[in-house]
Amino acid sequence: MARIFALRLLTTLVTLLGVAVIVFVVIRVVPGDPIAMMLPPGATEADIARLRTLYGLDKSIGGQFVIWFGNVLQGDFGSSITARQPVLTLVLGRLPATLELSLLALLMAVLIGGTLGVTGTRLRGTRAEAGIDVANGIGLSVPDFLWGLALIVLFGVVWPLFPISGRVSPRLELPFSTNFYLIESILRLRFDLTRNLLAHMLMPALALALPLAAIISQLLKQSLKETVNLDYAVLARTRGYSERHVILSEALPNAALPTLTLIGVQFTFLMGGTIIIERLFSYEGLGNMAIDAVITRDLPLIQGIVLLFALLFTLVNLVVDMAYVLLNPKLRHA
Protein backbone atom coordinates (compact mmCIF):
# COMPACT_ATOMS: atom_id res chain seq x y z
CA MET A 1 0.00 0.00 0.00
CA ALA A 2 2.79 2.44 0.97
CA ARG A 3 4.72 1.50 -2.16
CA ILE A 4 1.70 2.10 -4.38
CA PHE A 5 1.23 5.45 -2.73
CA ALA A 6 4.87 6.48 -3.22
CA LEU A 7 4.70 5.44 -6.86
CA ARG A 8 1.55 7.50 -7.34
CA LEU A 9 3.20 10.52 -5.77
CA LEU A 10 6.13 10.23 -8.15
CA THR A 11 3.92 10.01 -11.24
CA THR A 12 1.95 12.97 -9.93
CA LEU A 13 5.13 15.07 -9.80
CA VAL A 14 6.10 14.06 -13.34
CA THR A 15 2.59 14.94 -14.54
CA LEU A 16 2.78 18.35 -12.92
CA LEU A 17 6.19 19.05 -14.47
CA GLY A 18 4.80 18.12 -17.89
CA VAL A 19 1.79 20.39 -17.40
CA ALA A 20 4.07 23.24 -16.30
CA VAL A 21 6.21 22.92 -19.43
CA ILE A 22 3.27 22.74 -21.81
CA VAL A 23 1.44 25.72 -20.30
CA PHE A 24 4.56 27.77 -20.11
CA VAL A 25 5.46 27.23 -23.74
CA VAL A 26 1.94 27.43 -25.18
CA ILE A 27 0.96 30.75 -23.67
CA ARG A 28 4.22 32.27 -24.90
CA VAL A 29 3.86 30.96 -28.43
CA VAL A 30 0.25 32.05 -29.03
CA PRO A 31 -0.17 35.63 -30.25
CA GLY A 32 -0.79 38.41 -27.71
CA ASP A 33 1.70 40.39 -25.68
CA PRO A 34 1.21 41.23 -22.02
CA ILE A 35 3.46 44.26 -22.31
CA ALA A 36 1.33 45.73 -25.10
CA MET A 37 -1.70 45.32 -22.80
CA MET A 38 -0.01 47.22 -19.99
CA LEU A 39 1.31 50.25 -21.82
CA PRO A 40 -0.78 53.12 -23.17
CA PRO A 41 -0.83 53.58 -26.96
CA GLY A 42 2.15 55.56 -28.19
CA ALA A 43 4.71 54.09 -25.80
CA THR A 44 8.23 54.14 -27.19
CA GLU A 45 10.28 51.10 -28.15
CA ALA A 46 12.59 51.90 -25.25
CA ASP A 47 9.68 51.79 -22.77
CA ILE A 48 8.60 48.42 -24.12
CA ALA A 49 12.14 47.03 -23.92
CA ARG A 50 12.54 48.26 -20.33
CA LEU A 51 9.34 46.61 -19.21
CA ARG A 52 10.28 43.39 -21.02
CA THR A 53 13.54 43.27 -19.12
CA LEU A 54 11.72 44.01 -15.86
CA TYR A 55 9.43 40.98 -16.30
CA GLY A 56 12.25 38.84 -17.70
CA LEU A 57 10.43 38.46 -21.04
CA ASP A 58 13.59 39.32 -22.99
CA LYS A 59 15.16 35.99 -22.09
CA SER A 60 14.66 32.77 -24.09
CA ILE A 61 11.60 30.64 -23.24
CA GLY A 62 13.86 27.98 -21.76
CA GLY A 63 15.65 30.57 -19.64
CA GLN A 64 12.35 32.02 -18.45
CA PHE A 65 11.10 28.55 -17.55
CA VAL A 66 14.15 27.72 -15.44
CA ILE A 67 13.79 30.94 -13.45
CA TRP A 68 10.02 30.52 -12.99
CA PHE A 69 10.12 26.82 -12.11
CA GLY A 70 13.00 27.36 -9.70
CA ASN A 71 10.84 29.93 -7.90
CA VAL A 72 7.77 27.67 -8.00
CA LEU A 73 9.71 24.94 -6.22
CA GLN A 74 10.35 27.47 -3.46
CA GLY A 75 6.65 28.29 -3.29
CA ASP A 76 6.93 31.54 -5.27
CA PHE A 77 4.58 31.59 -8.25
CA GLY A 78 5.48 35.16 -9.18
CA SER A 79 3.23 38.17 -9.23
CA SER A 80 0.16 38.85 -11.33
CA ILE A 81 0.94 41.44 -13.97
CA THR A 82 -2.49 43.04 -13.81
CA ALA A 83 -3.37 42.73 -10.12
CA ARG A 84 0.20 43.31 -8.93
CA GLN A 85 -0.26 40.75 -6.15
CA PRO A 86 1.40 37.37 -5.58
CA VAL A 87 -0.19 34.71 -7.80
CA LEU A 88 -0.41 32.26 -4.91
CA THR A 89 -2.45 34.71 -2.79
CA LEU A 90 -4.85 35.41 -5.66
CA VAL A 91 -5.29 31.78 -6.61
CA LEU A 92 -5.72 30.44 -3.10
CA GLY A 93 -8.19 33.26 -2.41
CA ARG A 94 -10.42 32.09 -5.26
CA LEU A 95 -9.89 28.33 -4.93
CA PRO A 96 -12.43 27.79 -2.09
CA ALA A 97 -15.25 29.30 -4.16
CA THR A 98 -14.54 26.93 -7.05
CA LEU A 99 -14.03 23.92 -4.79
CA GLU A 100 -17.35 24.53 -3.04
CA LEU A 101 -19.14 24.93 -6.37
CA SER A 102 -17.64 21.79 -7.92
CA LEU A 103 -18.16 19.65 -4.83
CA LEU A 104 -21.78 20.78 -4.58
CA ALA A 105 -22.19 19.97 -8.27
CA LEU A 106 -20.58 16.54 -7.72
CA LEU A 107 -22.88 15.85 -4.78
CA MET A 108 -25.92 16.80 -6.86
CA ALA A 109 -24.72 14.69 -9.78
CA VAL A 110 -24.20 11.64 -7.56
CA LEU A 111 -27.58 12.08 -5.85
CA ILE A 112 -29.54 12.66 -9.07
CA GLY A 113 -27.60 10.10 -11.13
CA GLY A 114 -27.56 7.52 -8.34
CA THR A 115 -31.29 7.84 -7.69
CA LEU A 116 -32.12 7.58 -11.39
CA GLY A 117 -29.77 4.62 -11.86
CA VAL A 118 -31.26 2.68 -8.94
CA THR A 119 -34.84 3.61 -9.85
CA GLY A 120 -34.24 2.65 -13.46
CA THR A 121 -32.96 -0.75 -12.32
CA ARG A 122 -36.01 -1.34 -10.13
CA LEU A 123 -38.28 -0.41 -13.02
CA ARG A 124 -36.29 -2.30 -15.65
CA GLY A 125 -38.27 -3.39 -18.63
CA THR A 126 -41.06 -0.85 -18.05
CA ARG A 127 -41.96 2.42 -19.77
CA ALA A 128 -40.56 4.33 -16.79
CA GLU A 129 -37.12 2.91 -17.57
CA ALA A 130 -37.46 4.09 -21.16
CA GLY A 131 -38.32 7.53 -19.77
CA ILE A 132 -35.15 7.55 -17.69
CA ASP A 133 -33.15 6.54 -20.76
CA VAL A 134 -34.58 9.49 -22.67
CA ALA A 135 -33.74 11.85 -19.80
CA ASN A 136 -30.20 10.45 -19.73
CA GLY A 137 -29.87 11.01 -23.46
CA ILE A 138 -30.88 14.64 -23.09
CA GLY A 139 -28.61 15.13 -20.08
CA LEU A 140 -25.68 13.65 -21.99
CA SER A 141 -26.12 15.59 -25.19
CA VAL A 142 -26.69 19.10 -23.78
CA PRO A 143 -23.42 20.71 -22.58
CA ASP A 144 -23.16 22.36 -19.17
CA PHE A 145 -23.13 25.99 -20.42
CA LEU A 146 -26.38 25.42 -22.33
CA TRP A 147 -27.94 24.01 -19.16
CA GLY A 148 -26.67 27.18 -17.48
CA LEU A 149 -28.38 29.42 -20.03
CA ALA A 150 -31.57 27.37 -19.89
CA LEU A 151 -31.63 27.59 -16.09
CA ILE A 152 -31.04 31.37 -16.18
CA VAL A 153 -33.94 31.81 -18.58
CA LEU A 154 -36.19 29.48 -16.59
CA PHE A 155 -35.46 30.25 -12.94
CA GLY A 156 -33.85 33.68 -13.33
CA VAL A 157 -36.11 35.37 -15.87
CA VAL A 158 -39.38 33.55 -16.53
CA TRP A 159 -39.84 32.37 -12.96
CA PRO A 160 -37.31 34.35 -10.92
CA LEU A 161 -36.65 31.98 -8.04
CA PHE A 162 -32.89 32.29 -7.77
CA PRO A 163 -30.32 35.10 -8.17
CA ILE A 164 -28.54 34.76 -11.50
CA SER A 165 -25.15 36.21 -10.63
CA GLY A 166 -22.52 36.36 -7.94
CA ARG A 167 -21.61 34.09 -5.06
CA VAL A 168 -23.55 35.86 -2.33
CA SER A 169 -25.78 38.94 -2.09
CA PRO A 170 -23.41 41.96 -1.99
CA ARG A 171 -25.38 43.78 0.73
CA LEU A 172 -24.86 40.97 3.25
CA GLU A 173 -22.21 41.36 5.89
CA LEU A 174 -19.94 38.35 5.92
CA PRO A 175 -18.34 37.31 9.22
CA PHE A 176 -16.07 34.77 7.53
CA SER A 177 -12.38 34.35 8.24
CA THR A 178 -11.76 31.94 5.33
CA ASN A 179 -13.02 31.92 1.77
CA PHE A 180 -14.90 28.66 2.27
CA TYR A 181 -18.11 30.65 2.71
CA LEU A 182 -20.54 27.76 2.44
CA ILE A 183 -18.69 25.47 4.82
CA GLU A 184 -18.00 28.27 7.27
CA SER A 185 -21.60 29.48 7.26
CA ILE A 186 -22.67 25.97 8.26
CA LEU A 187 -19.99 25.68 10.94
CA ARG A 188 -20.92 29.06 12.36
CA LEU A 189 -24.58 28.03 12.30
CA ARG A 190 -25.38 31.09 10.16
CA PHE A 191 -27.99 29.27 8.14
CA ASP A 192 -29.40 32.53 6.77
CA LEU A 193 -26.07 32.93 4.95
CA THR A 194 -26.01 29.27 3.97
CA ARG A 195 -29.39 29.74 2.32
CA ASN A 196 -28.23 32.82 0.48
CA LEU A 197 -25.04 31.09 -0.71
CA LEU A 198 -26.92 27.98 -1.80
CA ALA A 199 -29.47 30.07 -3.70
CA HIS A 200 -26.60 31.57 -5.65
CA MET A 201 -24.84 28.26 -6.18
CA LEU A 202 -27.83 26.11 -7.06
CA MET A 203 -28.16 27.00 -10.74
CA PRO A 204 -24.45 26.96 -11.66
CA ALA A 205 -23.99 23.74 -9.69
CA LEU A 206 -27.01 22.12 -11.36
CA ALA A 207 -25.74 23.17 -14.80
CA LEU A 208 -22.43 21.47 -14.02
CA ALA A 209 -24.15 18.46 -12.44
CA LEU A 210 -26.71 17.51 -15.09
CA PRO A 211 -24.38 16.06 -17.74
CA LEU A 212 -22.47 14.13 -15.07
CA ALA A 213 -25.72 12.94 -13.47
CA ALA A 214 -26.80 11.54 -16.83
CA ILE A 215 -23.51 9.67 -17.24
CA ILE A 216 -23.67 8.27 -13.71
CA SER A 217 -27.29 7.22 -14.10
CA GLN A 218 -26.62 5.50 -17.42
CA LEU A 219 -23.52 3.57 -16.37
CA LEU A 220 -24.81 2.69 -12.89
CA LYS A 221 -28.07 1.35 -14.31
CA GLN A 222 -26.18 -0.72 -16.85
CA SER A 223 -23.91 -2.35 -14.28
CA LEU A 224 -26.73 -2.76 -11.74
CA LYS A 225 -28.86 -4.56 -14.31
CA GLU A 226 -26.05 -7.02 -14.89
CA THR A 227 -25.34 -7.44 -11.19
CA VAL A 228 -28.95 -8.08 -10.09
CA ASN A 229 -28.97 -11.22 -12.25
CA LEU A 230 -25.78 -12.67 -10.77
CA ASP A 231 -26.08 -15.78 -8.61
CA TYR A 232 -25.54 -14.06 -5.28
CA ALA A 233 -28.34 -11.60 -6.03
CA VAL A 234 -30.67 -14.45 -7.03
CA LEU A 235 -29.70 -16.29 -3.86
CA ALA A 236 -30.56 -13.22 -1.77
CA ARG A 237 -34.04 -13.17 -3.35
CA THR A 238 -34.61 -16.83 -2.48
CA ARG A 239 -33.74 -15.93 1.11
CA GLY A 240 -36.71 -13.60 1.29
CA TYR A 241 -35.05 -10.25 0.60
CA SER A 242 -36.96 -7.58 -1.29
CA GLU A 243 -35.89 -6.35 -4.71
CA ARG A 244 -34.99 -3.02 -3.11
CA HIS A 245 -32.64 -4.74 -0.65
CA VAL A 246 -31.11 -6.86 -3.42
CA ILE A 247 -30.35 -3.76 -5.49
CA LEU A 248 -29.10 -1.52 -2.68
CA SER A 249 -27.26 -3.96 -0.42
CA GLU A 250 -26.18 -6.84 -2.64
CA ALA A 251 -25.72 -5.31 -6.08
CA LEU A 252 -24.85 -1.65 -5.50
CA PRO A 253 -21.48 -2.02 -3.72
CA ASN A 254 -20.23 -4.21 -6.57
CA ALA A 255 -21.91 -2.35 -9.40
CA ALA A 256 -20.65 1.00 -8.12
CA LEU A 257 -17.01 0.23 -8.93
CA PRO A 258 -16.96 1.11 -12.65
CA THR A 259 -19.17 4.12 -11.98
CA LEU A 260 -16.77 5.33 -9.31
CA THR A 261 -13.80 5.31 -11.69
CA LEU A 262 -15.87 7.18 -14.21
CA ILE A 263 -16.92 9.78 -11.65
CA GLY A 264 -13.24 10.46 -10.96
CA VAL A 265 -12.50 11.13 -14.62
CA GLN A 266 -15.69 13.07 -15.18
CA PHE A 267 -15.21 15.19 -12.07
CA THR A 268 -12.08 16.69 -13.58
CA PHE A 269 -14.15 17.59 -16.66
CA LEU A 270 -16.70 19.13 -14.35
CA MET A 271 -14.01 21.28 -12.76
CA GLY A 272 -12.92 22.33 -16.23
CA GLY A 273 -16.55 23.29 -16.84
CA THR A 274 -16.45 25.73 -13.93
CA ILE A 275 -14.45 28.11 -16.14
CA ILE A 276 -17.37 28.86 -18.44
CA ILE A 277 -20.11 28.33 -15.85
CA GLU A 278 -18.51 30.72 -13.37
CA ARG A 279 -18.25 33.30 -16.13
CA LEU A 280 -21.89 32.79 -17.06
CA PHE A 281 -23.09 33.27 -13.49
CA SER A 282 -20.45 35.92 -12.57
CA TYR A 283 -19.37 33.57 -9.80
CA GLU A 284 -16.20 34.82 -8.11
CA GLY A 285 -14.13 31.68 -8.52
CA LEU A 286 -10.93 30.44 -10.07
CA GLY A 287 -12.52 29.84 -13.49
CA ASN A 288 -13.74 33.38 -13.78
CA MET A 289 -10.29 34.58 -12.81
CA ALA A 290 -8.71 32.28 -15.41
CA ILE A 291 -10.72 33.90 -18.20
CA ASP A 292 -9.71 37.39 -17.05
CA ALA A 293 -6.09 36.26 -16.89
CA VAL A 294 -6.21 34.92 -20.44
CA ILE A 295 -7.87 38.09 -21.77
CA THR A 296 -5.21 40.31 -20.19
CA ARG A 297 -2.34 37.89 -20.99
CA ASP A 298 -1.43 37.74 -17.33
CA LEU A 299 1.15 35.00 -17.90
CA PRO A 300 2.18 34.26 -14.26
CA LEU A 301 -1.46 34.10 -13.18
CA ILE A 302 -2.44 31.73 -16.03
CA GLN A 303 0.49 29.48 -15.17
CA GLY A 304 -0.47 29.45 -11.51
CA ILE A 305 -4.13 28.65 -12.18
CA VAL A 306 -3.38 25.87 -14.66
CA LEU A 307 -0.83 24.29 -12.37
CA LEU A 308 -3.32 24.35 -9.51
CA PHE A 309 -6.01 22.74 -11.68
CA ALA A 310 -3.53 20.05 -12.71
CA LEU A 311 -2.70 19.39 -9.07
CA LEU A 312 -6.41 19.13 -8.21
CA PHE A 313 -7.04 16.70 -11.08
CA THR A 314 -4.28 14.35 -9.99
CA LEU A 315 -5.48 14.53 -6.39
CA VAL A 316 -9.02 13.63 -7.47
CA ASN A 317 -7.68 10.60 -9.32
CA LEU A 318 -5.70 9.57 -6.27
CA VAL A 319 -8.80 9.79 -4.08
CA VAL A 320 -10.79 7.69 -6.57
CA ASP A 321 -8.11 5.01 -6.60
CA MET A 322 -8.14 4.87 -2.81
CA ALA A 323 -11.93 4.61 -2.72
CA TYR A 324 -11.72 1.81 -5.26
CA VAL A 325 -9.41 -0.15 -2.98
CA LEU A 326 -11.76 0.41 -0.05
CA LEU A 327 -14.79 -0.87 -1.96
CA ASN A 328 -13.08 -3.87 -3.50
CA PRO A 329 -11.63 -6.23 -0.91
CA LYS A 330 -9.69 -8.10 -3.60
CA LEU A 331 -7.40 -5.10 -4.10
CA ARG A 332 -6.67 -4.58 -0.43
CA HIS A 333 -3.88 -7.12 -0.31
CA ALA A 334 -2.39 -6.21 -3.65
Partner: protein, 293 residues
Protein backbone atom coordinates in the same frame (compact mmCIF):
# COMPACT_ATOMS: atom_id res chain seq x y z
CA UNK B 1 -47.56 -39.11 3.53
CA UNK B 2 -48.39 -35.95 1.61
CA UNK B 3 -45.65 -34.24 -0.36
CA UNK B 4 -44.04 -31.10 1.04
CA UNK B 5 -43.60 -29.77 -2.49
CA UNK B 6 -46.21 -30.54 -5.12
CA UNK B 7 -45.99 -29.11 -8.61
CA UNK B 8 -49.24 -29.54 -10.53
CA UNK B 9 -49.61 -29.00 -14.28
CA UNK B 10 -47.00 -26.26 -14.41
CA UNK B 11 -46.68 -24.70 -17.85
CA UNK B 12 -44.48 -21.80 -18.84
CA UNK B 13 -43.84 -19.95 -22.08
CA UNK B 14 -41.27 -17.48 -23.30
CA UNK B 15 -42.90 -14.16 -22.37
CA UNK B 16 -44.91 -12.70 -25.22
CA UNK B 17 -44.71 -15.84 -27.36
CA UNK B 18 -46.39 -19.25 -27.68
CA UNK B 19 -43.05 -21.00 -27.25
CA UNK B 20 -43.55 -23.55 -24.47
CA UNK B 21 -40.71 -23.97 -22.01
CA UNK B 22 -42.48 -26.17 -19.43
CA UNK B 23 -45.26 -28.56 -20.46
CA UNK B 24 -47.76 -29.43 -17.70
CA UNK B 25 -45.08 -30.53 -15.28
CA UNK B 26 -46.13 -32.65 -12.25
CA UNK B 27 -43.55 -33.28 -9.55
CA UNK B 28 -43.85 -34.39 -5.92
CA UNK B 29 -41.17 -34.12 -3.29
CA UNK B 30 -42.39 -35.83 -0.09
CA UNK B 31 -41.06 -34.70 3.29
CA UNK B 32 -37.46 -35.76 3.85
CA UNK B 33 -36.94 -37.39 0.45
CA UNK B 34 -34.68 -36.61 -2.48
CA UNK B 35 -36.16 -36.09 -5.93
CA UNK B 36 -33.74 -35.98 -8.85
CA UNK B 37 -34.54 -33.83 -11.87
CA UNK B 38 -32.60 -35.04 -14.88
CA UNK B 39 -32.49 -34.21 -18.55
CA UNK B 40 -30.23 -32.67 -21.12
CA UNK B 41 -29.27 -28.99 -21.25
CA UNK B 42 -32.27 -26.81 -21.96
CA UNK B 43 -34.82 -29.42 -20.85
CA UNK B 44 -36.05 -27.06 -18.13
CA UNK B 45 -34.53 -28.67 -15.02
CA UNK B 46 -33.12 -25.48 -13.55
CA UNK B 47 -36.20 -23.54 -14.59
CA UNK B 48 -38.40 -25.75 -12.40
CA UNK B 49 -36.04 -25.19 -9.46
CA UNK B 50 -36.14 -21.46 -10.02
CA UNK B 51 -39.93 -21.47 -10.36
CA UNK B 52 -40.23 -23.14 -6.95
CA UNK B 53 -37.95 -20.50 -5.40
CA UNK B 54 -39.78 -17.64 -7.11
CA UNK B 55 -36.73 -16.43 -9.03
CA UNK B 56 -37.57 -17.17 -12.65
CA UNK B 57 -35.96 -14.90 -15.22
CA UNK B 58 -38.31 -12.16 -16.42
CA UNK B 59 -38.44 -13.72 -19.88
CA UNK B 60 -40.21 -16.81 -18.51
CA UNK B 61 -43.93 -16.54 -17.89
CA UNK B 62 -45.90 -19.17 -15.99
CA UNK B 63 -49.23 -19.60 -17.77
CA UNK B 64 -50.86 -22.30 -15.68
CA UNK B 65 -50.39 -24.76 -12.86
CA UNK B 66 -49.79 -24.77 -9.13
CA UNK B 67 -46.70 -24.93 -6.96
CA UNK B 68 -47.87 -26.15 -3.55
CA UNK B 69 -45.46 -25.69 -0.67
CA UNK B 70 -46.85 -27.51 2.34
CA UNK B 71 -50.27 -27.26 0.75
CA UNK B 72 -50.17 -23.54 -0.06
CA UNK B 73 -50.12 -22.45 -3.70
CA UNK B 74 -47.13 -20.14 -4.15
CA UNK B 75 -48.42 -18.84 -7.46
CA UNK B 76 -51.69 -17.69 -5.91
CA UNK B 77 -50.02 -15.80 -3.05
CA UNK B 78 -49.26 -12.07 -2.95
CA UNK B 79 -45.57 -11.51 -3.85
CA UNK B 80 -44.42 -10.36 -0.40
CA UNK B 81 -46.03 -13.27 1.42
CA UNK B 82 -44.62 -15.70 -1.15
CA UNK B 83 -41.14 -14.27 -0.75
CA UNK B 84 -41.32 -14.61 3.04
CA UNK B 85 -42.63 -18.17 2.88
CA UNK B 86 -39.94 -19.24 0.43
CA UNK B 87 -37.28 -17.45 2.47
CA UNK B 88 -38.38 -19.10 5.70
CA UNK B 89 -39.00 -22.67 4.61
CA UNK B 90 -36.77 -23.35 1.62
CA UNK B 91 -33.17 -22.78 0.61
CA UNK B 92 -31.00 -23.15 -2.43
CA UNK B 93 -27.61 -24.68 -3.13
CA UNK B 94 -26.48 -22.94 -6.30
CA UNK B 95 -24.42 -24.33 -9.14
CA UNK B 96 -21.35 -22.12 -9.17
CA UNK B 97 -19.82 -21.35 -5.78
CA UNK B 98 -17.54 -18.77 -7.39
CA UNK B 99 -20.42 -16.47 -8.33
CA UNK B 100 -22.91 -17.32 -5.58
CA UNK B 101 -21.13 -15.41 -2.83
CA UNK B 102 -21.09 -11.62 -2.85
CA UNK B 103 -17.43 -10.65 -3.48
CA UNK B 104 -17.59 -7.48 -1.38
CA UNK B 105 -19.08 -8.93 1.80
CA UNK B 106 -17.55 -11.09 4.52
CA UNK B 107 -18.57 -14.75 4.69
CA UNK B 108 -20.06 -14.44 8.17
CA UNK B 109 -22.49 -11.68 7.28
CA UNK B 110 -23.55 -13.50 4.15
CA UNK B 111 -24.83 -16.37 6.28
CA UNK B 112 -26.05 -14.60 9.41
CA UNK B 113 -27.61 -11.41 7.98
CA UNK B 114 -30.61 -13.24 6.64
CA UNK B 115 -31.16 -15.17 9.89
CA UNK B 116 -31.42 -11.84 11.68
CA UNK B 117 -33.11 -9.71 8.97
CA UNK B 118 -35.62 -12.19 7.61
CA UNK B 119 -36.07 -14.84 10.29
CA UNK B 120 -35.76 -12.43 13.21
CA UNK B 121 -33.13 -14.36 15.18
CA UNK B 122 -30.99 -12.75 17.89
CA UNK B 123 -27.57 -11.92 16.35
CA UNK B 124 -25.78 -14.00 18.98
CA UNK B 125 -27.92 -17.05 18.20
CA UNK B 126 -27.40 -16.55 14.45
CA UNK B 127 -23.65 -16.46 15.01
CA UNK B 128 -23.42 -19.52 17.24
CA UNK B 129 -25.73 -21.52 14.97
CA UNK B 130 -23.61 -20.51 11.96
CA UNK B 131 -20.41 -21.62 13.69
CA UNK B 132 -22.08 -24.92 14.52
CA UNK B 133 -23.16 -25.36 10.90
CA UNK B 134 -19.70 -24.50 9.53
CA UNK B 135 -18.24 -27.17 11.80
CA UNK B 136 -20.87 -29.60 10.51
CA UNK B 137 -19.74 -29.05 6.89
CA UNK B 138 -16.18 -29.58 8.18
CA UNK B 139 -14.76 -26.13 7.61
CA UNK B 140 -11.60 -25.74 9.68
CA UNK B 141 -11.31 -22.67 11.95
CA UNK B 142 -14.89 -21.47 11.44
CA UNK B 143 -14.31 -18.37 13.59
CA UNK B 144 -11.61 -17.20 11.22
CA UNK B 145 -13.55 -18.10 8.08
CA UNK B 146 -16.44 -15.88 9.17
CA UNK B 147 -14.19 -12.85 8.79
CA UNK B 148 -12.86 -13.78 5.33
CA UNK B 149 -13.98 -12.55 1.93
CA UNK B 150 -15.06 -15.11 -0.70
CA UNK B 151 -11.93 -14.65 -2.85
CA UNK B 152 -9.81 -15.89 0.05
CA UNK B 153 -11.38 -19.37 -0.15
CA UNK B 154 -11.18 -22.21 -2.68
CA UNK B 155 -14.16 -23.29 -4.78
CA UNK B 156 -14.73 -26.40 -2.67
CA UNK B 157 -14.65 -24.37 0.55
CA UNK B 158 -17.07 -21.85 -0.90
CA UNK B 159 -19.47 -24.64 -1.84
CA UNK B 160 -19.26 -25.92 1.75
CA UNK B 161 -20.11 -22.39 2.93
CA UNK B 162 -23.13 -22.33 0.61
CA UNK B 163 -24.26 -25.75 1.81
CA UNK B 164 -23.92 -24.62 5.41
CA UNK B 165 -25.88 -21.51 4.54
CA UNK B 166 -28.62 -23.62 2.93
CA UNK B 167 -29.04 -25.91 5.95
CA UNK B 168 -28.43 -23.31 8.68
CA UNK B 169 -32.08 -22.37 9.27
CA UNK B 170 -33.36 -25.96 9.02
CA UNK B 171 -35.44 -25.45 5.85
CA UNK B 172 -37.91 -28.19 4.94
CA UNK B 173 -36.96 -28.08 1.27
CA UNK B 174 -33.67 -27.38 -0.48
CA UNK B 175 -33.35 -26.89 -4.21
CA UNK B 176 -29.88 -27.97 -5.28
CA UNK B 177 -29.14 -26.73 -8.80
CA UNK B 178 -26.29 -28.87 -10.15
CA UNK B 179 -24.30 -28.20 -6.98
CA UNK B 180 -21.28 -30.24 -8.06
CA UNK B 181 -21.04 -29.36 -11.75
CA UNK B 182 -18.63 -26.44 -11.33
CA UNK B 183 -16.25 -28.37 -9.07
CA UNK B 184 -13.43 -30.69 -10.01
CA UNK B 185 -14.01 -34.43 -9.74
CA UNK B 186 -12.41 -35.20 -6.38
CA UNK B 187 -14.17 -32.29 -4.71
CA UNK B 188 -17.45 -33.29 -6.40
CA UNK B 189 -17.45 -36.56 -4.56
CA UNK B 190 -16.86 -34.98 -1.16
CA UNK B 191 -19.52 -32.33 -1.70
CA UNK B 192 -22.07 -34.88 -2.87
CA UNK B 193 -21.35 -37.04 0.18
CA UNK B 194 -21.73 -34.01 2.40
CA UNK B 195 -25.10 -32.99 0.94
CA UNK B 196 -26.36 -36.56 1.23
CA UNK B 197 -25.22 -36.83 4.84
CA UNK B 198 -26.75 -33.50 5.89
CA UNK B 199 -29.99 -34.28 4.05
CA UNK B 200 -30.38 -37.53 5.92
CA UNK B 201 -29.45 -36.06 9.30
CA UNK B 202 -31.71 -33.02 9.03
CA UNK B 203 -34.54 -34.86 7.26
CA UNK B 204 -34.68 -32.19 4.54
CA UNK B 205 -36.60 -32.68 1.31
CA UNK B 206 -34.30 -32.13 -1.64
CA UNK B 207 -35.06 -31.25 -5.24
CA UNK B 208 -31.81 -32.18 -6.91
CA UNK B 209 -31.25 -30.82 -10.40
CA UNK B 210 -28.54 -32.65 -12.31
CA UNK B 211 -27.61 -34.07 -15.69
CA UNK B 212 -25.46 -36.74 -14.08
CA UNK B 213 -27.19 -40.11 -13.61
CA UNK B 214 -24.30 -41.29 -11.44
CA UNK B 215 -25.17 -38.53 -8.98
CA UNK B 216 -28.83 -39.58 -9.11
CA UNK B 217 -27.94 -43.15 -8.25
CA UNK B 218 -25.95 -41.99 -5.21
CA UNK B 219 -28.28 -39.48 -3.65
CA UNK B 220 -31.86 -39.64 -4.97
CA UNK B 221 -34.93 -41.65 -3.91
CA UNK B 222 -37.03 -40.83 -6.95
CA UNK B 223 -36.49 -38.98 -10.17
CA UNK B 224 -38.22 -37.12 -12.96
CA UNK B 225 -36.78 -37.33 -16.46
CA UNK B 226 -37.36 -34.16 -18.45
CA UNK B 227 -37.30 -33.66 -22.16
CA UNK B 228 -38.17 -30.30 -23.75
CA UNK B 229 -39.92 -29.13 -20.60
CA UNK B 230 -42.03 -32.28 -20.25
CA UNK B 231 -41.70 -34.99 -17.62
CA UNK B 232 -41.37 -38.13 -19.74
CA UNK B 233 -40.81 -40.43 -16.79
CA UNK B 234 -41.53 -40.19 -13.07
CA UNK B 235 -40.17 -43.17 -11.17
CA UNK B 236 -38.12 -44.42 -8.26
CA UNK B 237 -34.37 -44.63 -8.60
CA UNK B 238 -34.36 -48.40 -8.08
CA UNK B 239 -36.90 -48.98 -10.84
CA UNK B 240 -35.23 -46.50 -13.19
CA UNK B 241 -31.84 -48.19 -13.13
CA UNK B 242 -33.42 -51.61 -13.36
CA UNK B 243 -35.88 -50.96 -16.17
CA UNK B 244 -36.56 -47.44 -17.42
CA UNK B 245 -40.09 -47.24 -18.79
CA UNK B 246 -39.75 -44.52 -21.38
CA UNK B 247 -37.55 -45.09 -24.46
CA UNK B 248 -35.86 -41.70 -23.92
CA UNK B 249 -35.00 -42.65 -20.33
CA UNK B 250 -33.57 -45.91 -21.52
CA UNK B 251 -31.50 -44.19 -24.18
CA UNK B 252 -30.30 -41.64 -21.62
CA UNK B 253 -29.24 -44.42 -19.30
CA UNK B 254 -27.48 -46.25 -22.12
CA UNK B 255 -25.65 -43.05 -23.06
CA UNK B 256 -24.07 -42.73 -19.61
CA UNK B 257 -20.34 -43.42 -19.91
CA UNK B 258 -19.11 -46.27 -17.68
CA UNK B 259 -15.71 -46.32 -16.08
CA UNK B 260 -15.86 -50.11 -15.93
CA UNK B 261 -15.74 -50.32 -19.69
CA UNK B 262 -13.34 -47.62 -20.89
CA UNK B 263 -13.02 -49.22 -24.31
CA UNK B 264 -16.62 -48.48 -25.27
CA UNK B 265 -17.17 -45.20 -27.11
CA UNK B 266 -19.75 -42.62 -26.02
CA UNK B 267 -23.25 -43.53 -27.19
CA UNK B 268 -25.56 -40.70 -28.22
CA UNK B 269 -29.33 -40.99 -27.77
CA UNK B 270 -30.38 -42.76 -31.03
CA UNK B 271 -32.09 -40.52 -33.63
CA UNK B 272 -35.16 -42.77 -33.69
CA UNK B 273 -35.70 -42.18 -29.97
CA UNK B 274 -35.25 -38.42 -30.34
CA UNK B 275 -37.75 -38.49 -33.19
CA UNK B 276 -40.29 -40.46 -31.19
CA UNK B 277 -40.08 -38.27 -28.11
CA UNK B 278 -40.31 -35.17 -30.31
CA UNK B 279 -43.47 -36.51 -31.93
CA UNK B 280 -44.93 -37.33 -28.52
CA UNK B 281 -44.41 -33.75 -27.35
CA UNK B 282 -45.82 -32.30 -30.57
CA UNK B 283 -48.93 -34.45 -30.11
CA UNK B 284 -49.35 -33.23 -26.55
CA UNK B 285 -48.94 -29.62 -27.68
CA UNK B 286 -51.73 -29.91 -30.22
CA UNK B 287 -54.26 -30.64 -27.52
CA UNK B 288 -52.91 -27.97 -25.17
CA UNK B 289 -54.75 -24.72 -24.59
CA UNK B 290 -53.54 -22.43 -21.81
CA UNK B 291 -56.31 -21.43 -19.42
CA UNK B 292 -55.18 -17.83 -19.53
CA UNK B 293 -52.83 -16.37 -22.08
Amino acid sequence: MSAFLEIRGLSAVLRGTDLRLLRSVDIDVPVGTVRGLVGESGAGKSMIGRAVLGVLPRAVEIVEGEILLDGRDLLAMPPVARRRLIGARTAMIPQDPLTALNPSRRIGRQITDRLVDILGWEPARARSRTLEMLAEVRIPEPERVLRLYPHELSGGMRQRILIASAFVAEPELIVADEPTTALDVTVQKQILGLISELQARHGTALLFVTHDLGVVAKICDSLSVLYAGKVVEDTTVARFFEAPAHPYSAALLAATPRHTDPASSLKPVPPAVMHAVGAEIAAADRSWRPRHG
